[in-house]
């Protein structure tokens, strides 16, 4: 999927390049002009990070996006835009070749020398706030919207997500005892790599009203078969869209996982990777869909 997005792109049309001096004139305006006034003029945006691309599409400014990165997999039509590569291995000239006037990045985009070159060439480069909590998502959405001159739309989007998540939380309070969830990031050769604390998956489990059974560990770690049995999850969550074989791997074919309550009940949830862990405008829906699978009957899925 990512490979197709990396296909060869044609150089920029000369007519578009004619806009460049104008863009630079605007970008070079003194710092006295407020950031939002400058950003309103941003006509050629490079979006680095899946959540940022999703947010820009949700704000309806997709025709102002000139390029995306390999983590931008939603909406699928974003793949029609030129792709500047993986967000942590950007090429300064590659980004510059799209003649952007604004580069919006998720935290962690790099490498630093490339970012430095982009900044020194007079392009507005903005790093969006990071994080997985309800507030952090709202802040991220509002920051992206403000950067492209749509603060009101951003506020509405953020309030929508916050409201949805709050409603979900109050419904979850009545949904009965919390389910114990094991999130398997990948299952290669029978060795499950599982989400611990401080991961996007951990945050999503919390939003959906579950308990991460592996929260004692930090980050994604491979667990031994015995340890997996010991964790005794009620539900196993896996991702689709994370490699060709992933969707067909049956975790309960592994005896250690078959022995857990989840294995006995056949409780397996598969959800799209970008949807579940993107932490963008669709996160409230993703949390609700996951919750609906964890507590069938008590929670209705998003429409």
């Amino acid at each position: 999927m990512k490979l197709t997005a990396m296909s060869i792109r044609k150089p920029l049309h000369p007519a578009l390049r004619a806009l460049l001096p104008l863009a630079f004139a605007i970008a070079a305006l003194p710092a006295a002009s407020p950031a939002s006034a400058q950003a309103q003029e941003a006509r050629r945006i490079v979006a680095i990070g899946g959540a940022i691309t999703e947010t820009l599409y949700a704000l309806g400014v997709e025709d102002r996006i000139v390029a995306i990165d390999t983590t931008s997999v939603f909406p699928p039509r974003a793949a029609e835009k030129p792709n500047v590569g993986y967000m942590r291995a950007l090429s300064a000239e590659g980004v510059l070749s799209q003649s952007p006037d604004l580069v919006l990045m998720e935290a962690g985009a790099g490498p630093p020398p490339a970012i430095q070159l982009l900044k020194s060439s007079g392009i507005a480069v903005e790093t969006m706030p990071d994080g997985h909590g309800v507030e952090a998502i709202a802040q991220k959405l509002e920051a992206v919207a403000a950067a492209v001159g749509k603060p009101e739309a951003g506020k509405a989007l953020a309030e929508g997500v916050e409201g949805d998540l709050e409603r979900l939380e109050s419904e979850l309070a009545k949904a009965g005892p919390k389910k114990r969830v094991l999130f398997i990031l990948s299952l290669v050769d029978g060795r499950p790599m599982v989400a611990g604390s401080d991961t996007a998956a951990d945050a999503m489990i919390a939003l959906a009203g579950g308990i991460n059974v592996f929260s004692a560990a930090n980050g994604y770690k491979t667990v031994s078969a015995e340890a997996a049995t010991e964790l005794a999850p009620d539900v196993v969550v896996m991702m689709t869209g994370a490699g060709p074989n992933h969707a067909t791997v049956d975790p309960f074919a592994i005896p250690a996982l078959k022995a857990t309550p989840a294995g006995q009940a056949g409780a397996l949830v598969r959800m799209d990777a970008a949807y579940l862990l993107g932490f963008g405008p669709r996160t409230a829906d993703a949390a609700r869909d996951l919750a609906a699978r964890l507590y069938p009957g008590a929670i209705e899925p998003a429409e």
Partner: protein, 361 residues
């Protein structure tokens, strides 16, 4: 040393051979220059060649052209082309010297554990830079990673040298074997660090291991350039010694060659060349093997010719590979190590099938 002249096993038919060598060197030098010009002239950003020349002529501070174009030519393409040429020269030189020193066509800085030492330094910084090594990365900033790689290469070399040297004599065989062990040990430590690392760190490690010149800046050229030029200047001092070593260490010694001094100088140069190259561009495979072999098969194993020719050949290969890295998936960028191996390996195999004799070995 003058007694060695003419005693090189490869000095047959001197007139004919030296003409071929002179032509080959001239062709290589021309190739490097032409490719460097090409590398500065083309890229994912569509700037016409005439405009590139105008921008170059106008100087880095010109305001007559859009700032983006000036940055691309002066701050991105120019330092990158210089660095590609220098790193290519370092990698090929390292391979040539190792193969001469060990009298083994497979020798390469990677086998000695020098590359792995550098890689271990870099991976430590990637994984621990935010944790245990945070004070170091706070002081050194963006230079923490390259400096850690260089320190790793030097440490590996020093350990090797200490192990292989007894009573002032350095055993080449011991060094080769302990190098393999050291490389395995460094790989084990890297594996452990990979186990500790999170998702993004893992991807950083993978990308770094495939090499790339995307992060080259004038500051990096200014820091690493002098070391590389020093290595280039010192390399010719090895040529006659390496030629004599082809006969064997004892024979070279009896011919009046100061074998221990030669070995020490050779190892120091390889460590410096590899350390700097890996520090700046990550591990770029295959250049150190393929370039010396190509040239040896084509024009012979006389090190007075082979050393400069390898430097030029390495520079040429890496310049071409970097143009590919920048253009093939533009506006994204391919890791350059993929390209050097993808160009180098099939070409090398084709050459081996055509000529089965390893001249010089």
């Amino acid at each position: 040393m003058s007694a060695l002249t003419g005693s090189s096993p490869l000095a047959r038919a001197p007139g004919e051979r030296s003409l071929v060598q002179a032509v080959a060197l001239a062709l290589l030098a021309f190739g490097v220059l032409a490719t460097a010009v090409l590398a500065i002239g083309i890229g994912p950003a569509a700037i016409s060649p005439s405009r590139v020349i105008q921008i170059l002529a106008a100087g880095p501070k010109t305001t007559a052209f859009p700032l983006g174009d000036v940055i691309i030519v002066w701050q991105i393409r120019l330092p990158r082309a210089i660095m590609a040429a220098l790193i290519g020269a370092m990698l090929a030189l390292g391979g040539t010297v190792m193969q001469g020193l060990f009298r083994n066509p497979l020798a390469d800085p990677a086998i000695l554990g020098v590359s792995n030492g550098a890689a271990l330094g870099a991976v430590s910084m990637i994984v621990l830079g935010g944790g245990a090594l945070a004070p170091v990365s706070a002081i050194l900033g963006g230079y923490a990673l390259p400096l850690a790689a260089f320190a790793g290469a030097l440490t590996a070399t020093l350990i090797l040298y200490a192990i292989a040297t007894r009573e002032g004599l350095t055993s080449v065989a011991t060094m080769l074997l302990s190098g393999i062990a050291l490389a395995a040990f460094a790989a084990a430590l890297m594996g452990y660090l990979a186990f500790l690392s999170d998702d993004t760190q893992l991807r950083d490690i993978t990308f770094w291991n495939l090499g790339g010149l995307g992060g080259v800046t004038w500051e990096k050229v200014a820091i690493s350039g002098p070391i590389m030029l020093l290595v280039l200047a010192a390399a010719p001092m090895l040529a006659r010694g390496l030629d004599a070593l082809v006969l064997g260490e004892a024979e070279a010694f009896h011919m009046g060659l100061r074998v221990e001094r030669l070995k020490r100088l050779a190892i120091l140069l390889v460590a410096a060349a590899t350390g700097v190259a890996v520090a700046v561009s990550g591990t770029i495979g295959f250049v150190g093997i393929v370039v010396p072999h190509l040239l040896r098969l084509a024009v012979g194993a006389d090190h007075r010719f082979l050393l400069p020719a390898s430097c030029l050949g390495g520079a040429l290969l890496l310049l071409v590979a970097d143009i590919g890295a920048r253009l093939l998936v533009a506006p994204a960028e391919l890791p350059i190590g993929i390209i050097t191996a993808a160009i180098g390996a099939p070409f090398f195999l084709w050459l081996l099938m055509r000529r089965r004799d390893f001249e010089g070995f």
